[in-house]
C-alpha cells in the first residue's frame, strides 16, 4: 500500500461512496471513523519503514506516480497526517450533534483528501490547483439546494479562483529567480505575484470581506470547517514556498510586508469582532485575526517558525470546531445569531453557551485555554523584534476579549423568572463537553502536543536554519 493511496485516494472514495450509497444517519459515524483510523495509522505506522507484526511485514511506500508527476509523503509527514485526519474526525463526529446537512461528511472527506493531496504533490506549487478544486467542493456545502446563494459565497469563489493563476505563474517565475538571483526586476515581479496569490488564499485585508458575509449566509458549522481547513493547508503550502526559496525568507522587505499584513489582520479582525452584533460574524472576525497571527509567524526572522505555526494550528482546529458546533446548536433554535435573538440563551442552552464563550476566550488568548500557549510564544518572539507590532497585536487580542465579554453579557441577559434548563441533546452535551475538556487540556498541558511537534520541523528543513 502506498501512502498517497491510503491518505488521498481512500478517503476520497469513501467520501464518494457516502455521498451516493450511504444513508444520512450513518454518515457521521462512518466518516468520522474512517478519518480517525487514518489518523491512527499515520501515528502508528511509519511511512517508508518496514514494520513487523508477527510474521507479517508491513511497509507503506512513500510515493505514487500519477500522469507523470508524483504524489509523495515522507516519514516526517506521519505526524502532520495524524493531526489533519484527527481534527477532521472531530469535525465529522460533530456533524451528528450539529445536525448539519447529510453532504457534510462526504464532501468534507473529499475536501480533506484533496487538500492532503496538495501537501503531497510534486512539484509542490501544483497544490494551488488542488486547493482551488477543494474550494469548489465547499460551495455545495455552503449553499444548500433550497437556499439562494448570497454575495459571500460568490466572492469566496472569485477570490479562490483568482489565487490559483497568481500562484502558478509566480511559481514558474520563481524558477527564473533561482536561475538568476541578481535580477531584481524578476524577483520583484515574482514576489508581487506570489504575495497577491497568497493574499487571496489567506483572505488578507481587505480581501476577507467574504468571511463575515458567509457567517451570515451559511451554516456556521460548514463555515467553521471552511475557516479551519483552507487556512490550515494554505499555511502548509506557504511554508513549502518559504522552505524552497531561500530569498523569500531572507528578504527583509518581504518579511516586513508579511508581518504588516498579519498585524493588520489581527488588529482589524479584533476591533471589528468587538463591534459586531452577530455572534456568527464575531467568529468570522476572530478566525481572521488568528489567520493574521499565522501570517505574522511566517514573517518572523526566527528558527521556530514551524513549531510556532503548528502550536497555533492544532488548537485552532479544536477551538473552531467547538465554537462552530455551539453556534449551529444555537442557530437551530434561535434561527438567527443576532444579539437580540440570542439574548438570554444561557439559561436555555447552558452547555452550548458555555462552550461558545470558552472557545471565544481561547481565541482571545485567555490563560488556561488552548489558544494561550501559542499566543504567549508568538508574543515572546514578536516582542523581541518590534514593540509597535506587539502593541497592535495586543489591541487585536483585546478586541477579541471585548467581543467575548459582550457575548457573555448578551447570553446572560435574561428575565429573573426564566428557569435554567438544558435543552441540548445528550450527544450535543457530550461533544461540547469533550471539546471544552480538550480546550483546557491543550491550555494547561501544551506539552502533550510535543510528540506531534517534534517531527514537524523536519518537513521544512531549511526554515529552521
Amino acid at each position: 500500500m502506498s501512502a498517497p493511496l491510503l491518505w488521498i485516494a481512500i478517503p476520497f472514495l469513501v467520501g464518494v461512496s457516502i455521498l451516493f450509497f450511504l444513508r444520512e444517519r450513518f454518515s457521521a459515524f462512518i466518516g468520522g471513523s474512517v478519518a480517525a483510523i487514518l489518523a491512527l495509522i499515520a501515528l502508528i505506522f511509519p511511512i517508508d519503514e518496514a514494520l513487523l507484526l508477527g510474521s507479517i511485514s508491513l511497509k507503506i511506500s512513500p510515493s505514487i506516480q500519477f500522469f507523470g508527476r508524483s504524489f509523495e509523503f515522507s516519514a516526517a509527514d506521519g505526524a502532520l497526517l495524524a493531526i489533519i485526519y484527527g481534527l477532521a474526525a472531530l469535525w465529522f463526529f460533530g456533524t451528528e450533534a450539529s445536525g448539519t446537512a447529510n453532504r457534510f461528511v462526504s464532501l468534507g472527506l473529499m475536501i480533506v483528501s484533496l487538500l492532503t493531496a496538495s501537501i503531497a504533490v510534486e512539484p509542490f506549487l501544483f497544490a494551488a490547483l488542488l486547493i482551488e478544486i477543494a474550494a469548489m467542493l465547499v460551495i455545495p456545502l455552503l449553499v444548500p439546494p433550497y437556499q439562494k446563494p448570497g454575495r459571500g459565497v460568490v466572492r469566496f469563489l472569485i477570490y479562490q479562483t483568482f489565487a490559483m493563476p497568481f500562484i502558478l505563474f509566480s511559481g514558474w517565475m520563481l524558477a527564473g529567480v533561482e536561475a538568476s538571483p541578481g535580477d531584481l526586476g524578476t524577483t520583484t515581479q515574482a514576489g508581487t505575484m506570489l504575495g497577491l496569490g497568497f493574499a487571496f488564499l489567506f483572505a488578507v485585508f481587505p480581501l476577507y470581506n467574504w468571511i463575515p458575509m458567509l457567517m451570515d449566509e451559511a451554516s456556521p458549522y460548514v463555515a467553521g470547517f471552511l475557516l479551519w481547513a483552507l487556512p490550515t493547508f494554505t499555511v502548509i503550502f506557504a511554508l513549502g514556498f518559504l522552505d524552497r526559496y531561500v530569498w523569500l525568507r531572507t528578504s527583509p522587505q518581504l518579511s516586513n510586508a508579511i508581518q504588516f499584513a498579519g498585524v493588520f489582520m489581527v488588529a482589524s479582525g479584533g476591533v471589528f469582532a468587538s463591534l459586531q452584533r452577530h455572534i456568527g460574524r464575531m467568529m468570522g472576525y476572530s478566525a481572521i485575526a488568528e489567520t493574521g497571527l499565522l501570517i505574522i509567524i511566517m514573517g518572523l526572522p526566527s528558527s521556530e517558525i514551524v513549531n510556532l505555526t503548528f502550536l497555533l494550528l492544532i488548537p485552532r482546529g479544536l477551538v473552531l470546531a467547538v465554537w462552530a458546533l455551539a453556534l449551529s446548536i444555537l442557530k437551530r433554535n434561535a434561527y438567527s445569531l443576532l444579539f437580540n435573538e440570542v439574548q438570554g440563551l444561557a439559561r436555555s442552552f447552558p452547555a452550548a453557551v458555555t462552550a461558545l464563550l470558552l472557545a471565544q476566550l481561547s481565541m482571545a488568548g485567555f490563560p488556561l485555554l488552548a489558544g494561550f500557549p501559542a499566543r504567549l510564544a508568538v508574543w515572546q518572539e514578536l516582542a523581541g523584534q518590534s514593540l509597535t507590532m506587539t502593541l497592535w497585536v495586543f489591541i487585536g487580542m483585546l478586541g477579541l476579549l471585548a467581543a467575548a465579554i459582550r457575548s457573555l453579557a448578551v447570553f446572560v441577559m435574561a428575565d429573573e423568572e426564566k428557569k435554567w434548563r438544558v435543552n441540548e441533546s445528550w450527544v450535543q452535551v457530550t461533544m461540547l463537553g469533550l471539546g471544552v475538556i480538550g480546550l483546557f487540556i491543550l491550555g494547561m498541558f501544551p506539552q502533550i502536543l510535543q510528540p506531534f511537534l517534534a517531527d514537524l520541523p523536519s518537513l521544512f528543513n531549511r526554515i529552521g536554519q
Binding site: 444520512e24 500519477f66 500522469f67 507523470g68 508527476r69 450539529s98 445536525g99 448539519t100 446537512a101 447529510n102 501544483f126 490547483l129 488542488l130 482551488e132 478544486i133 469548489m136 467542493l137 460551495i139 455545495p140 449553499v143 444548500p144 439546494p145 433550497y146 437556499q147 439562494k148 446563494p149 454575495r151 459565497v153 460568490v154 469563489l157 472569485i158 479562483t161 483568482f162 490559483m164 493563476p165 502558478l168 505563474f169 514558474w172 451554516s219 458549522y221 449551529s328 442557530k331 437551530r332 434561527y335
Partner: protein, 202 residues
C-alpha cells in the same frame, strides 16, 4: 506564417466573443460566444501544447457551456438582474473592453521581450481574456455572468500557462477546475429553486 495568421484571427475572435459576452443581455448569445471563444483558446493553447492536450481545453470548455446552458434552460422564472451601480450600460462596457484592448496592446510586446518564445498572439490572446474576465467580474453580480467572467479569466491564464508548463497533470487539473467552475456555476444558478427537504440544516 499561415499559423501566425490563424493565431491573430483567433485573437480577433476572442475580442469579438469577449465583447459580445460583456455587452449582450441574452444568456444564449453569451454562452454561444463562450463556446466560440474556446475554439480560439484551443488554437492558441495548441501552439505550445500537443494537439490532444489542447483539445482537452476545447472539450472541457464545451462541456461547461453545455452544463450552464442546460441549467439555465431549466430555469424558466429567472429574471435578468438589473445592475445597481453607476456608470452602467452598453457603451460603458464597450469603453471597458477598449481599455482592456489598449492595455493588452501596450503590454504584449514588453512581455514578449521579457519572456521570449511565447509568441505575440499567445500573449495578446491570454491578456485579452484575463482582462475581459476581470472586467466582466467587475461589472456584474449576476451568477451566470460571474461564472462566465471566471471562465474567461481562467481561459486567458491557461493560454499563457500552456506556453510555460506542458505537464499532463496540470492540463488535467485545469480541465477539472474549468468543469468544476461550470458545475458550481450551474449549482448556484439552480440553488433556491429546489424546495426544502426534511432534515436539512438551518
Amino acid at each position: 506564417m499561415a499559423a501566425d495568421i490563424i493565431s491573430w484571427l483567433a485573437v480577433g475572435l476572442m475580442l469579438a466573443t469577449s465583447t459580445t459576452m460583456l455587452i449582450s443581455r441574452d444568456w444564449r448569445v453569451s454562452l454561444g460566444s463562450l463556446a466560440a471563444q474556446y475554439i480560439s483558446v484551443f488554437w492558441l493553447a495548441s501552439r505550445h501544447l500537443p494537439f490532444v492536450m489542447g483539445s482537452v481545453k476545447l472539450i472541457a470548455g464545451w462541456m461547461v457551456v453545455a452544463a450552464l446552458g442546460m441549467t439555465r434552460l431549466g430555469l424558466t422564472n429567472l429574471e435578468e438582474e438589473e445592475d445597481t451601480f453607476w456608470p452602467r450600460g452598453r457603451w460603458f462596457r464597450v469603453i471597458l473592453t477598449f481599455m482592456v484592448l489598449l492595455v493588452t496592446a501596450g503590454s504584449t510586446p514588453r512581455i514578449e521581450a521579457a519572456i521570449p518564445g511565447l509568441g505575440l498572439p499567445v500573449i495578446a490572446g491570454g491578456l485579452l481574456l484575463i482582462g475581459a474576465g476581470v472586467v466582466h467580474l467587475g461589472v456584474t453580480s449576476n451568477l451566470l455572468r460571474v461564472t462566465l467572467g471566471l471562465l474567461t479569466m481562467l481561459a486567458g491564464f491557461e493560454i499563457i500557462y500552456a506556453a510555460v508548463e506542458s505537464s499532463i497533470l496540470v492540463t488535467g487539473f485545469l480541465a477539472i477546475a474549468n468543469l468544476g467552475l461550470g458545475m458550481v456555476g450551474s449549482y448556484l444558478l439552480a440553488a433556491g429553486s429546489t424546495p426544502i427537504e426534511n432534515g436539512e440544516e438551518l
